[in-house]
């Protein structure tokens, strides 16, 4: 088990700028706290699922990892090297080795380039193959993602969503990356097409030995693809652990609520879902202490003042909750 990537205490704040009233009253500008100390290890060859509500920071985390957003604090180490350190930023080989696939297949491909051009560009910029061998490699890549050869000469608008996502996968694979970040890879697709794309990804992972970070909000899908799962709430990991254990016996009260919100195929399970009170607090105005305490049925005084750290909990991976033992003793 080698760790390929270590994310340490990653914070990301988006300043919203100060209004005139803020200046008059001497208030600091408002800030969206997108990530609040995410720490994560990505292990060679695994698929790590990342789940959470909309707006909890899943996609922000993904974009941070591929250096689209520089973090406000914290670091990302790739094979021990800080990818945001001074001269490392100029190093484009990190971009080759860590690739991302985007949520919206309708905007992630340049509408004026044919599939062939898109793939050939990736190959030639990173000099993956000598120039004369590029056309052959483009054909191979199309075959790899199961697209017909005549797709080469077509523009993105001539493809369906699922086919476009496969072009995006081919583009990411063109540069032979080691880590793939899949940001809501299939959430824009029909269920039947989702299965094709996800299974293609899993086949490729097995054949090419890829490490995948799979960001999604579809819990059943994440359970299907992931070895490990991280649950994010308001830019902070509240629970991380082995996929099967986490899904069958979530320990954190938020994970419990989230998982019980997923529709079950068993009609007898209806009605005993743990319902959450209230709404996701605004990341503009973070609650003090445990970010979940305003909605948590088990919250006590310590939750309002102290942020719980991720700590190992018997057979459940790691959980960030002050009352994890009492809660799970009840259950």
């Amino acid at each position: 088990m080698t760790t390929v990537m270590q994310i340490r205490d990653l914070h990301l704040r988006f300043p919203l700028g100060r209004s005139l009233m803020d200046h008059v009253k001497g208030r600091p500008g408002r800030v969206v706290q997108a990530l609040n100390g995410v720490s994560l290890d990505l292990i060679q060859g695994e698929t790590l699922g990342v789940v959470g509500e909309s707006g909890c920071g899943k996609s922000t985390l993904a974009r941070c990892i591929v250096r689209l957003y520089p973090p406000s604090e914290g670091s990302i180490l790739f094979e021990g090297q800080d990818v945001f350190a001074g001269d490392a930023r100029a190093d484009r080989s990190y971009n080759r080795r860590v690739q991302m696939m985007f949520q919206d297949p309708y905007s992630s491909l340049n509408p004026r380039m044919t599939t062939g051009q898109i793939l050939a560009e990736a190959l030639s910029v990173h000099q993956m193959r000598p120039e004369p061998e590029i056309p052959a490699r483009v054909s191979e890549l199309l075959e790899l993602v199961r697209l017909p050869q005549d797709a080469q000469h077509r523009l993105p608008h001539e493809f369906s969503g699922g086919q476009r996502q496969r072009i995006a996968i081919a583009r990411a694979l063109a540069v032979e990356p080691e880590v793939l970040i899949a940001d809501e890879l299939v959430s824009a697709l029909d269920v039947s097409v989702q299965a094709q794309v996800v299974n293609l990804l899993l086949d490729l992972q097995r054949d090419l030995g890829l490490t995948i970070l799979f960001v999604a909000h579809d819990l059943r899908l994440v359970r299907h693809v992931s070895n490990r799962v991280a649950v994010i709430y308001l830019g902070r990991i509240v629970e991380i652990g082995d996929s099967e254990t986490l899904f069958s016996a979530p320990a954190h009260p938020y994970s419990q609520a989230l998982l019980s919100a997923a529709p079950s195929l068993n009609p007898d399970n209806r009605g005993n879902a743990t319902r959450l009170e209230g709404e996701l607090p605004s990341p503009l105005n973070m609650p003090s202490g445990c970010p979940f305490h305003v909605r948590c049925p088990h919250a006590s005084d310590i939750c309002k003042s102290t942020i719980p750290a991720l700590t190992p909990f018997e057979g459940c991976g790691e959980v960030a909750c002050h009352h994890v033992e009492e809660i799970n003793a009840h259950a």
Binding site: V66, F102, S108, P111, E121, V125
Partner: protein
């Protein structure tokens, strides 16, 4: 799925153009204007500068379809020779502004930051001035003449192209393909000029067409005011100015070059409209 085939439904550009009568008319007008501008000697019946004091201010006739001017020169020939000057204006009055504006707009749109702030102030400064006044001011400093007029127009006009380009680049950057370029490790230059620019340029090209019409109008205005082309050079604005004092007795002197301006302007507008449809990315 692997053996799915695609219907070949991409109509040729020519066929699309033929389906749009307005676009077709625009192409014909501008095409013919370009021909007139390149070979005026072939189309003009007389030498535009040949004087004939025995036939001064004659109304349109078979011998002189557009009449003759106050020195007995053939008006039709002068209007045709003026195509050379006015079409040249349409190109040289816009192309420097276009290139500068596109490059500057793309760069400030992509990098934002302090350069964008400065650019914003320049835009504010330029657009608060009435355009014509600003151009006249620059011409007044440099002196009248066509070259100085091109310089004056370019100095002011690039701002309009840059503003349009900047907005379009920012809009395009909202698409994930720009982010994908960064993730792929492409250089900024490649992302700006290979990915963003081709997608952002369409409104600029369409604007360029309308702008050429505007520049012809502006050039004529300056010619009329004596700040652009200088007599005896045949230029529509100059021709209209020459007929100004005889507007009630010799109307053809000003009307014929006026019609040429309207027709060319119409041609560029129709061309711009058609291009807007044609260049829109499908899907």
């Amino acid at each position: 799925m692997s053996d799915a085939t695609f219907p070949t439904d991409r109509p040729s550009l020519l066929r699309m153009a033929l389906c749009k009568p307005g676009f077709m008319v625009g192409i014909l007008i501008i095409g013919f204007s370009v021909l007139l501008a390149i070979f005026p000697g072939f189309f003009a019946p007389y030498d535009p500068n040949a004087l004939d004091y025995l036939a001064v201010r004659q109304p349109p006739s078979w011998a002189h379809p557009f009449g003759t001017d106050l020195l007995g020169r053939d008006s039709l020939s002068r209007v045709i020779w003026a195509y050379q000057v006015n079409m040249q204006m349409a190109v040289f009055g816009t192309v420097f502004a276009l290139v500068t504006g596109v490059v500057v707009g793309a760069l400030v749109g992509y990098y934002r930051g302090i350069a964008d702030l400065i650019f914003g102030r320049i835009v504010d400064a330029v657009i608060t001035f009435p355009f014509l006044v600003l151009v006249i001011a620059v011409v007044a400093v440099l002196g009248p003449g066509l070259i100085n007029m091109y310089i004056a127009i370019s100095v002011v006009y690039w701002v309009y192209y840059a503003r349009l380009m900047r907005a379009e680049v920012i809009a395009q950057m909202g698409n994930d393909y720009a982010a994908a370029g960064v993730v792929m490790g492409y250089s900024d230059r490649r992302i700006i000029f290979r990915h963003l620019l081709p997608n952002a340029i369409t409104p600029v090209v369409v604007y360029w067409m309308t702008d050429m019409a505007l520049v012809i109008l502006l050039g004529s205005s300056l010619g009329y005011l004596g700040l652009g082309a200088q007599p005896p050079q045949a230029e529509w604005g100059v021709l209209i100015a020459e007929g100004r004092n005889f507007i009630s007795t010799a109307w053809w002197l000003s009307l014929m070059p006026g019609i040429a301006i309207v027709l060319t302007g119409l041609g560029f507008s129709l061309l711009g409209d058609g291009l807007a449809d044609l260049l829109r990315p499908r899907g």
